[in-house]
């Protein structure tokens, strides 16, 4: 599992690298007893939520650009 995260940490996609590095940091902190299991679980849930949030935000930004573009073309037609 950690091997996959290590591969992701150097895959070239900034968002995936950031998430993978953070997940590795959480795993390392858990192994060294710097955080509790409950804290680690909460942080990993936050990482999943961050991905959902990113997806929603990207969709919303794309929709806004699309509607703006279509509105501009419509104004040219009127």
């Amino acid at each position: 599992m950690q091997q996959q995260l290590l591969q992701l940490a150097g895959c070239g996609l900034p968002w995936a690298e950031a998430r993978a590095q953070m997940a590795l940091q959480i795993a390392e902190a858990l192994q060294h007893g710097q955080i509790s299991k409950d804290e680690a679980r909460a942080l990993l849930e936050d990482l999943v939520n961050t991905d959902k949030l990113n997806e929603e935000a990207t969709n919303a930004e794309a929709r806004a650009m699309l509607v703006f573009g279509v509105t501009q073309i419509l104004q040219m037609c009127l």
Binding site: M22, A42, D46, A64
Partner: protein
Amino acid sequence: MTSSKVLPVSGVVLQDCLTIRTNSIMKRMIVITTIVALTGCSSLKDLWPSRWDPNQSKIVTDIQQTARNFDCNGDVFQQSRNLSLQVEWLDIYSKTKDTRDVAKITSLMTNTVKELNDRSSKGQVSVVYCDIKKKIMIQQANTIGHMIQGRF
């Protein structure tokens, strides 16, 4: 002679084309009207992006600033409470104004901040946990900030 024969035929063809086109537009309008009537505009509202709003822009910048300046060696509970209240303000405002796209992503950050607030209210949190949480909150605040400020 030839043109006089062609013209009435073309007229009939043109009329047929217009009738077919009008029928097609009418059918589409009926379908759209039915969808809107049945769903009460909710489906269209979900698809339509909200417009730029100065109040949302202001509060999201405050949230970004609070997250960046979060001090894990200081009073974590008080700081997380302040951040929680700011995110709650944005959430209430977005839901009341019915900007669903903003409300949807704000609710995800509400979970992140609320978890920290609940945990710190019960007692000490580890510094490493707080540091990682801070990074996540900064990322989430920046994403929401870009989305809110990037609208037209």
